[in-house]
Amino acid sequence: MSTVSPTERRLETALPDEELLRLYRQMVLIRRFEERAEEQYTRDRIGGYLHLNIGEEATVVGTTTAMTADDYVFASYRDHGVALSLGTPVQAVMAELFGKETGVAHGRGGSMHLLDVQRHFLGGWGIVGAYIPIAVGAAFALDYERRPGAVMCLLGDGATATGAFHEALNLAGLWHLPCLFVVTNNGYGMGTSVERSSAEPELFKRAAAYKMPGERVDGQDVLAVREATARLLRLARDERQPSVLECITYRYRGHSPIDPGRGYRTPEEIESWRRRDPVDLFGQRLRERHLLSDDEAEQVAEDVEREVQAAIDFALQSPDPNPEALYQHIYGRQAAEQFSRMAPGAPFGERSIGAAPLTQEATPPDAPEQRAGG
């Protein structure tokens, strides 16, 4: 467990005050956004699954704010905080949850599949563990094109049991690719505790199987998380050495709205974590260091409240995707011509609204950078 205090001192001298305040603000924004999203879900304005970052704000903000402009990040379906922390317009995130054309994925992906190519957020993904090799592939591309950045792959404790995790880390270690695997250990995969899912519950130790450094950090301490992340991203960029960082944190809510979040954990356990609430903890520390007054804290809360409410209003007023566009974004440029000879004898049940031609993707094939925001 990397001790926190020295880190802290180093950081608070290292980080300018406004940066410290920005971290705090992002944490408050995520907390409030998630609370309102939860409420919107119960009002049936959001469908499908909804996985909240409440309780994990320090881990989310500590990791994502340590990225340089060259770095990329991948996340699981529990991805709202990542987009918000990176500065994706709150309204575009909320609009995606509402399934609107103005959403970050134009209403096609919803809560689990946020992304922001411009800010190097390459997606929230729905299959546990399966996107880890994809993140390693992004690191491969950066390395191949001699680009300066590294890739940070956020994954859950439960994901470490997947074969994809093993194959991906072996490839990253073998080919010395610039990536950092951040295991957000919130104690459970749905209702299954780490102890019931992993033969080695100290997950960071698995790094050794790939000759990688692995370490564990207090995921409730945003500065500790940020320091470790920055250091290990540098290691990836400068020394082509991938590594594993395990952040110990907790989710207050259930896995998703269908899960009350009890049954597999005691009220006492939840309470004990609330006593180390990451947002309060950091606010407290800023106050102690006279970087945040009660009025300022009040101000932050108000600003965030207003911003989230505006996002909800924006999402509500935004247009739904047009059903005529069902066949858009399925294939790229060449498909319309290629599929033009397939109609005869087709079942037509699904053609009822299929009159729209295949989309001609705007992006030119020879501008991958532009396309993927590299």
Partner: protein, 361 residues
């Protein structure tokens, strides 16, 4: 007879078979100590049979499906739950290249008496990675059996048959109707694998489908009935073996066949149905076999897009009307076929755009 839900029917079957046979165990993610899996079919089993026989696994579908196979080769009868069919993709090699192959490649010296339960729920905005129906792939695989009960009665009866079967059985459950009720006898009974059921009798048209689409087919049949058309509805119940005899007997009677599936029809279940019917009923058909399926797109999140992509009653109804028109039973234009259900035209040609849209979907 008591009325119980589809979920309870499956629970009963599991409970009864576990009580009857020590070798039956249940395994999967979130199915034991707590049941967070959407199906909640295993609720209570952990409390009743204990951690030894009801096992929560890590997120390792490839691992625990393989583990189930190995246990089965030594005589256990594992019933595995794959939370939703989408996740079996990471265990595909275990199902296709192992469970289905073992008896043959070892010359009959080993067998895999195992049931793999999968929830094939589609819709409710679960989006592209969580809203698929590719059961045709399992049905295409020799060595596997594939069943798809749609009523509580069939759910219990087929589950018992599957557990007692000596081969690997892919057991498809429909998320949309876990809570629907139906009559189920308390007595021990089984429903044979490989036998379809005629769930509605009719003389004018045969609608063949499986899974949730059967529910829709029945509603559409009611609607057609109001218009003086009697549709026969067949619930396949098994996809492999496929009960072609029942389907063919019906189409010989009605001279019209409409095949419906939730999934992507091109290379899907309805393709095999149409191919079989046209061959066995060539002289009996008054019109080509028609098919209705889901839009051929990865499922989008937004509700209006998803609604447009999913099979719905109107699409089935429109296809049925169209079929009746093509076969001369209805005059063109007569009756109220919804605007969105216009046919592709006699020669099946439509503007390239529409074609691409339709099929390239």
């Amino acid at each position: 007879m008591p009325q119980i839900t589809y979920r309870q029917a499956l629970q009963q079957a599991l409970r009864e078979e576990m009580a009857r046979d020590e070798r039956v165990i249940v395994m999967g993610e979130e199915i034991g100590e707590v049941t967070l899996t959407p199906s909640k079919v295993t609720e209570g089993l952990f409390q009743e049979f204990g951690a030894k026989r009801v096992l929560d696994t890590p997120i390792s579908e490839e691992g625990f499906v393989g583990l189930g196979i190995g246990a089965a080769t030594l005589g256990l009868r594992p019933v595995l739950e794959i939370m939703t069919i989408n996740f079996v993709l990471v265990a595909m090699d275990q199902v296709i290249n192992h469970a289905a192959k073992i008896r043959t490649m070892f010359g009959g010296e080993l067998q895999v008496p195992m049931v793999i339960r999968m929830n094939v729920a589609q819709g409710s905005q679960l989006t592209a990675q969580h809203s698929q129906a590719f059961e045709a792939w399992f049905a295409n695989t020799p060595g596997l059996k594939v069943v798809s009960p749609t009523t509580p009665y069939d759910a219990k009866g087929l589950m018992k048959s599957a557990i007692r079967d000596d081969d690997p059985v892919v057991f498809l459950e429909g998320g949309q109707y876990y809570s629907e009720r139906g009559e189920v006898p308390e007595a021990d009974f089984t429903v044979p694998i490989g036998l379809a059921s005629v769930v509605r009798e009719g003389a004018d048209l045969t609608i063949v489908s499986h899974g949730y689409a059967v529910r829709r087919a029945l509603r559409v049949a009611e609607r057609l009935h109001g218009e003086g058309i009697d549709a026969e509805v067949i619930d396949l119940r098994s996809l492999r073996p496929l009960d072609v005899e029942t389907v063919v007997a019906s189409v010989r009677k009605t001279h019209r066949a409409l095949c419906v599936e939730q999934g992507w029809p091109t290379y899907g279940v309805t393709a095999e149905l149409a191919a079989r019917i046209q061959r066995a009923c060539f002289a009996d058909l008054d019109a080509p076999v028609e098919r209705v399926g889901g839009a051929e797109v990865p499922m989008p999140y937004a509700r209006p897009l998803e609604n447009a992509a999913l099979v719905n009653d109107d699409k089935i109804y429109g296809a049925a009307r169209q079929l009746l028109v093509e076969s001369g039973m209805l005059a063109r234009g007569v009756g109220a076929a919804p605007a969105d259900a216009q046919p592709a035209g006699g020669n099946g040609r439509v503007p390239a755009g529409a074609a691409a849209g339709a099929v390239a979907g």
